[in-house]
């Protein structure tokens, strides 16, 4: 129940909640007047009524609600007898709220205006205050350092522009990628996915840097992280994790290309290393040859000297290179006198009326090629060869050099004839010129040039003999447009590059590859290391520390490698080297399956996010320096 009963219509007037002012006396907890402030905020209660002149008498006209006729009555001049000094009306709460809102608006606008109009460079206090109105947060440490000089303009082209231009840039799309490419480069188009060139396809989107990399996330933020789903959003085959849905590894993975050195792991392990005679030289386990200290995406084997020499070193000198062979002649064109003048008289030389060639052999393929003569055509090559012999008899190696150069060889004669003593050449030539076999004083034991009866041979001194290498290079590069020449070159190559019979047994192990169809051949002298690709990366080093689910340590020399690499005894390893195509190849090892990786990279085990193995960018690099120091 209420004990206030002031509801009477003549005692209680309407309340006007929209009015802006209240009586000042009331606001100070005095007694407010009943009239209240005027609508313009001035005091309305100075006088309680406006007295009425009723024929000379002033009458009070105070309203009933205020108490009706007052006791004092009007003054003699008609002024109200109940006046009081005016109060200062105070604003109502509602009006104060309006004022506070206007003030709040003004403060914010003023602060923004002040901040954005401060001049000064970014380094000074004023500049940093200005940027406070625009600052969106710290840059990552990589970007924070170098942007100081240019400031925000390094990436945001609209920064610092004139006001209208600045405003106008709100309405177009910003091309932030352009700014990024000032410093960042890739080995492919920057705005294509994976920086790769794809076949024209409507579904392949043009990419912007900011799609994945957003800045202003703080000093230590990771701005390169991408979730599996984000990768999957572009790729047609979408799947949720490596374990569930990631496509199987391709059939030959990772052995897409044959090794440069034809080392048959299977035959070696199964047969050769078991052989009693060589067993002591055999490597104890994988890591004997594949040195894990240098492991990264491949575990490179040791070189020939350390890995192969113990067994194979002495095989090399056993195969000689026959550079020249005295062929069978029908007749001799040599002038006896000239020969005697060059060589001196040879007591064994017989003067015979009928010439009978001491040799019944064919020319060497090298000579055949170099002279450009067919091997089996006596007449064709007879004169040329005898001339060569004559030349050799006179000055030793000069004629050979001429011949080599004359054939358009790609290799320098100095390399090809290195170590050939002109004296020996002369003596050899003199004997042949006298239609005699050249007899060696002793059996060749060291590497080097030897004349042997009817041949000029080169015996390789050991692995990587440069002379022999030069001759093989010469053979590989030989060839011309002319069909005949080409045929001879092919014959030469067939002999020199034969795995079973080739000189030095080089090609027994080194692959000969034609990289590009109709391109040149190439002997793969060095261990071929697959170039690490950013699109999928694997590091043996990181894995060697691991222990597989069965408990096998991957670094274990005996068992570790076979956790993943399993020998395929059935594979036709040799067959892959029968052609010059490196891609036709069956590896000694079973190709790696996804199941192998899944043993560890599965749910609840090791992480399996896309970025673990696959990097997005293609060989990212920089175009400008990335440090601040100028030293």
């Amino acid at each position: 129940m209420t004990d206030d009963n002031h509801f009477d219509f003549d005692r209680s007037a309407y309340e006007r909640p929209n009015s802006g002012h209240v009586c000042g006396r009331g606001a100070e907890w005095g007694t407010p007047c009943w009239r209240g402030p005027n609508h313009d905020g001035s005091c309305g209660g100075e006088a309680e009524c406006t007295p009425y002149d009723n024929q000379g008498r002033w009458e009070c006209r105070r309203a009933q609600a205020a108490g009706g006729l007052c006791e004092n009555g009007p003054g003699p001049d008609g002024s109200c007898g109940c006046s009081q000094p005016p109060c200062v009306p105070r604003p109502t709460l509602r009006r104060r709220r309006w004022r506070l809102s206007v003030i709040a608006l003004g403060l914010v606008v003023a602060a923004l205006a002040a901040f954005t109009h401060l001049s000064g460079d970014a380094g000074s206090f004023a500049g940093s205050v200005r940027n406070a109105a625009l600052d969106a947060g710290e840059l990552t440490d990589g970007h924070a350092g170098f942007t100081d000089a240019q400031g925000c303009k390094a990436c945001h082209s609209a920064h610092g522009a004139q006001p209208m231009a600045w405003l106008a840039s709100a309405f177009g799309a910003n091309d932030m990628t352009k700014a990024c490419l000032d410093c960042h480069t890739f080995s492919g188009p920057a705005r294509a996915p994976h920086n790769e060139v794809f076949a024209p396809n409507k579904r392949v989107r043009k990419t912007q840097c900011a799609m994945c990399h957003t800045e202003h996330k703080g000093y230590g933020a990771n701005i390169s992280g991408l979730s599996n789903e984000q990768c999957a959003s572009c790729h047609e085959k979408s799947f949720s994790s490596f374990v569930s849905g990631h496509p199987k590894f391709s059939d030959k993975f990772p052995h897409f290309r044959r090794a440069s050195i034809k080392f048959n792991h299977a035959s070696h392990q199964e047969k050769h290393f078991q052989d009693k005679n060589v067993a002591k030289n055999a490597p104890a386990n994988c890591t004997t040859c594949h040195r894990t200290e240098a492991a990264d995406h491949a575990v490179a084997p040791l070189g020939f000297e350390n890995a192969c020499a113990k067994c194979h070193a002495d095989q090399i000198p056993k195969r000689n290179l026959v550079v020249l062979r005295l062929p069978e002649f029908e007749e001799t064109n040599l002038d006896r006198e000239a020969v005697i003048e060059a060589c001196g008289a040879n007591p064994e030389a017989e003067e015979e009326d009928e010439y009978e060639s001491i040799s019944s052999d064919e020319m060497s393929v090298i000579a055949a090629y170099m002279m450009g003569k067919p091997i089996d055509d006596f007449e064709a090559y007879g004169e040329a060869f005898q001339e060569l012999v004559m030349g050799m008899a006179e000055d030793g190696t000069g004629a050979l050099v001429d011949m080599i150069e004359g054939s358009g060889a790609a290799v320098d004669p100095a390399v090809l004839l290195a170590g050939l003593n002109p004296e020996a050449a002369k003596r050899m030539a003199c004997a042949w010129a006298a239609n005699l076999e050249y007899e060696l004083p002793a059996e060749p034991t060291f590497g080097g040039w030897y004349g042997d009866l009817l041949e000029l041979i080169y015996r390789p001194s050991g692995h990587a003999d440069p002379v022999l290498k030069g001759w093989l290079e010469f053979a590989v590069a030989a060839g011309a447009a002319d069909e005949e020449v080409l045929e001879r070159a092919e014959e030469m190559r067939a002999q020199l590059l034969s795995p079973k019979k080739g000189p030095g047994a080089c090609i027994k192990c080194h692959a000969v590859t034609r990289d590009v169809a109709d391109g040149p051949l190439r002997i793969e002298w060095r261990y071929h290391k697959d170039k690490a690709r950013s699109s999928h990366s694997y590091s043996h080093r990181n894995h060697l520390t691991m222990v597989d689910p069965q408990g096998t340590k991957l670094a274990d020399s005996n068992q570790g490698c076979s956790v993943c690499h399993e020998l395929d005894l059935e594979a036709d390893f040799e067959g892959g080297y029968k052609d010059f195509n490196a891609q036709t190849y069956s590896s000694n090892f079973v190709s790696l399956k996804k199941e192998t990786c899944v043993r560890c990279h599965a749910r609840g085990r090791v992480r399996q996010n896309c970025q673990l193995c696959h990097a997005y960018h293609k060989e990212p690099a920089f175009a400008k320096r990335v440090t601040r120091n100028e030293n």
């Binding site: 129940m1 209420t2 206030d4 002031h6 509801f7 009477d8 219509f9 003549d10 209680s12 007037a13 309407y14 309340e15 006007r16 909640p17 929209n18 009015s19 802006g20 005027n38 609508h39 406006t50 009425y52 002149d53 009723n54 006209r61 309203a63």
Partner: protein, 563 residues
């Protein structure tokens, strides 16, 4: 202690017209209708002559003056002494009566309130005020369409009206207006003076006495009532709807009229309460619990309380208004079973009640056999606690029963933000039309906003008809242009829901009557935003749903439990 002498006020201390003199009375006595009254049956303290002298007056009307308006509440009857009057048979233009003719605001008008609402309180565009003479404090005058020496709105173009509308003529010695005067119903017709006319205006007090003491007069009055209104009333009651005309006539003939309580209950109500006699025990009883039900009681006007004995006093079950019936269930059960049934509750008069009693025999003979079992609403207490009924009990006590749209504010939801008052002001040119205070009960407040009563006592006595009831939805509206600020309505309202305001012109200067230097007043009150699309703005504006416009009867309240 000093004693101040003061004679007790008498009934006729303020006669209707102090100037009624002997000669007037003498000439009146010769009138046929009055001559037929037998003066001897009147008691000594209220003689017929006294009634004529004090409760009647002779009024002169000029050509065109409107005597009564249809829909108005009036409390006088009229006897034509001379001249011709016209009564409208069909529709007539509302503007004729000084009614407000504005409809709902259009879209642009609504929107323009945003910038048109004035911060200055109670601004009026005085151009619209017609020819009423008003003077602003700076001396300019305007005129309004009222006679200088009277307060009547008049018809300006009689021939045109007669051409356009159908009217009937009324001449000397005809009586009219007694239905509204006695029956608390709105005037049923609009009557204006075609020529200069002289009328005898009998106020209801006098009318009632004459009717009470003179059989002949009563029969005249009752016959007129039966002829004009009773049949219509019965026909509109569902129970009798299917009866044919002559049966209905028989029922009408048998029906008794009863009046209980005081006519001007709002005046006596305050007096009785302060003297401690406002409670239920002092209410006149129409029917008592336990008494034999001898007839169906139909409430024609006013309110009656339905209550049962409870402890040493009565407990209110509900209240009935116009159209309500009492005793139907008992009577029907009695007819079916053959055993007479007594009333299950008491019926007492709240203020003023006009009751029709249809005797049980009539019902049994003509009505019950024709109709199916009537659906009677059960008004038993059931398992309700006193607390659950307390609000209703209090509402009856405060006579809020009158309300159809009382503003009920739930004080546990109201955050006193005044959004409702602001909304009201926004729809009324910046001026609110109610105050957020009023009588409270528990956590309910009935605010001082017009409740649009079923029995609008404020309307009785408005000299210009400015306060009227919209026939469409029952909203009580004050037409600002015709209000003359006489404060009759404000004084009459028992709930203090009408307020007088001092009006100002557009400059903010107060408008002042040049003759008395008193400010011009206008009566204002809630009008349920009848011109506003969307209905009452206060309802829509409360963000906490604390405010509702309710009728207090059970079932008519918007929310469920009110405790």
């Amino acid at each position: 202690m000093s004693i101040a002498h003061f004679t007790r006020p008498q009934r006729w201390d303020s006669p209707f017209d102090p100037e009624m003199g002997e000669s007037d009375i003498a000439s009146l006595m010769e009138r046929p209708l009055i001559a037929a009254i037998n003066a001897e049956t009147f008691p000594d303290n209220t003689p017929l002559a006294g009634i004529l002298q004090n409760d009647t007056r002779i009024v002169h009307y000029k050509t065109g003056d409107i005597v009564v308006r249809e829909g108005d509440y009036g409390n006088s009857a009229f006897l034509i002494l001379g001249g011709k009057l016209r009564v409208f048979v069909d529709d007539y233009p509302d503007a004729l009566l000084g009614r407000d003719t504005t409809g709902k605001k259009g879209f642009f008008a609504t929107i323009s309130q945003i910038w048109n609402n004035s911060i200055i309180p109670e601004v009026r565009d005085t151009e619209k005020y017609g020819s009423q003479t008003v003077r602003s404090a700076d001396g300019r005058e305007t005129r309004s369409r009222k006679r200088k020496d009277s307060n009547r709105v008049f018809v300006q173009d009689i021939p045109a009206i007669l051409d356009e509308c159908r009217t009937a003529e009324m001449g000397e010695d005809e009586i009219f207006g007694e239905l509204a005067a006695l029956g608390r119903i709105p005037r049923t017709a609009t009557i204006f003076a075609e020529t200069d006319a002289t009328l005898l205006e009998i106020r209801w007090q006098g009318l009632r006495e004459i009717r009470r003491f003179d059989d002949g007069f009563r029969r005249v009055i009752d016959r007129r009532y039966r002829q004009n209104a009773l049949l219509v009333h019965l026909r509109e009651t569902k129970l009798f709807a299917k009866l044919d005309e002559d049966v209905l006539g028989k029922v009408a003939d048998a029906t008794l009229f009863e009046t209980y309580g005081t006519f001007d209950w709002q005046v006596s109500f305050k007096r009785l309460r302060s003297s401690g006699k406002g409670s239920v025990e002092h209410e006149p009883a129409i029917a008592r619990q336990g008494e034999y039900a001898d007839g169906l009681l139909m409430i024609r006007a006013g309110f009656a309380r339905v209550s049962i004995e409870y402890g040493s006093t009565q407990r209110t079950l509900t209240y009935l208004g116009a159209g309500g019936t009492f005793g139907l269930g008992e009577l029907y059960a009695a007819w079916q079973s053959g055993i007479s049934v007594s009333h299950g509750a008491s019926l007492t008069a709240l203020g003023y009640v006009d009751v029709l009693r249809v005797p049980a025999q009539v019902l049994e003979e003509y009505v019950f056999s024709e109709t199916a079992s009537p659906a009677v609403e059960s008004i038993a207490v059931g398992t309700r606690t006193l607390a659950e009924d307390a609000l209703l009990e209090w509402a009856v006590e405060e006579r809020f029963i009158n309300a159809t749209k009382s503003m009920l504010i739930d004080l546990t939801r109201c955050v006193r933000c005044d959004d409702c008052v602001r909304a009201c002001a926004a729809t009324h040119g910046g001026n609110p039309r109610f105050i957020r205070h009023g009588k409270t009960f528990g956590h309910w407040m009935v605010a001082n906003a017009c409740m649009h009563c079923t029995d609008p006592v404020c309307m009785i006595g408005c000299p210009t008809g400015a306060i009227h009831r919209s026939e469409i939805d029952g909203t009580v509206i004050i037409n600002d242009e015709t209000c003359i600020g006489c404060i009759t309505c404000a004084t009459s309202c028992p709930y203090n829901n009408i307020r007088m305001v001092e009006i100002k012109n557009r400059m903010g200067v107060a408008l002042v009557d040049p003759d008395s230097n008193r400010p011009i007043l206008k009566a204002t009150k809630c009008d349920l935003c009848y011109t506003n699309p969307g209905g009452p703005a206060c309802l829509r504006a409360c963000p906490h749903e604390a405010l509702s416009r309710v009728d207090f009867r059970r079932g008519a309240l918007a929310e469920g439990d009110l405790s």
